[in-house]
């Protein structure tokens, strides 16, 4: 059995860590120590949504989940191995607008695109925000709630640190975490697909 301790981590990190651990466990049982409240609810919903069985045990100052699979494969995971290369599906959002044309329409389309992801069964593994794309993940953005919910569903939401610094928004990041170009480049090179909306 594999063990994981996500106590003290803020959402959506517990879900992200559990997702990684389940992928690495390849069907083996996983025991997770986690805090009550949002981490407990989100991890449970995520695991059960993927077809895993979750047994809860209350501990002093938290909970222990024993997660057993195998999970229900998504359509992508169920596809013949030869049909898909290994690696994550990455979405690179390089602007706060979608497409060329009027700015207000572009912003509306990007916002609409991100919110629509919540209605889809297949989600990217990681979303990177670069350039003006990072403005979607900071305070005042109307998709912060959506990005946090995507995080709770196991999507890693990461913004480019240089870009946040450039726009003086480092202190107002409101969804996901900060990353660097090394991680962005390496992840893209190892991705099974990179999507640019």
């Amino acid at each position: 059995m594999n063990n994981l301790d996500v106590r003290g981590m803020a959402c959506p990190l517990p879900v992200v860590q559990v997702k990684r651990a389940l992928e690495a466990a390849q069907g083996a049982e996983l025991r997770v120590l986690l805090d009550d409240g949002a981490p407990r609810e989100n991890v449970k919903r995520f695991a059960q949504g993927r077809g895993y069985r979750v047994q809860e045990e209350q501990l002093e100052g938290g909970f222990a989940f024993t997660i057993t699979g195998p999970g229900t494969p998504t359509a992508r995971e169920a596809a013949p191995a030869a049909a898909v290369a290994a690696g994550p599906t990455v979405m690179l959002i390089g602007s706060d607008r979608m497409g060329d044309g009027p700015e207000d329409l572009g912003r509306l389309l990007m916002k609409n695109f991100i919110m629509t992801l919540l209605d889809l069964s297949e989600l990217p593994d990681r979303i990177f925000f670069v350039n003006t794309g990072v403005l979607l993940a900071v305070e005042g953005s109307e998709v912060v709630e959506t990005l946090n919910e995507l995080g709770n569903r196991g999507v890693e939401v990461l913004s480019c640190g240089i870009c946040l610094d450039f726009f003086k928004k480092k202190e107002s990041l409101a969804a996901g975490g900060v990353t660097n170009m090394f991680t962005i480049a390496e992840t893209m090179l190892n991705a099974r697909s990179v999507l640019r909306p």
């Binding site: 207000d104 329409l105 509306l108 609409n112 629509t116």
Partner: protein
Amino acid sequence: MIKDGDFVAIFNSIHRVMEAERLLKDKQLKILLIPAPRALAADCGLAIRYAEDVRGEVEGTLAAAGLLPRDLYRKNGDSFEKIGEEQ
């Protein structure tokens, strides 16, 4: 994204929904432009969501500007109750 009791206003063109959003935000009303739920037919695929506490102000503002929605729904459990009629 849509809580029980929230209102979802569907407009009949992208221009009307964008104008409605601009107008309501200028008044600092707590609304959100969202993808129209699949269950509700919307030509432009967009809708405006708002809660009961701002309903009067939102609908009053839209009416004054001649921008009333084509249809209005209220989220009720897993479904949407139609409470608006075509303008």
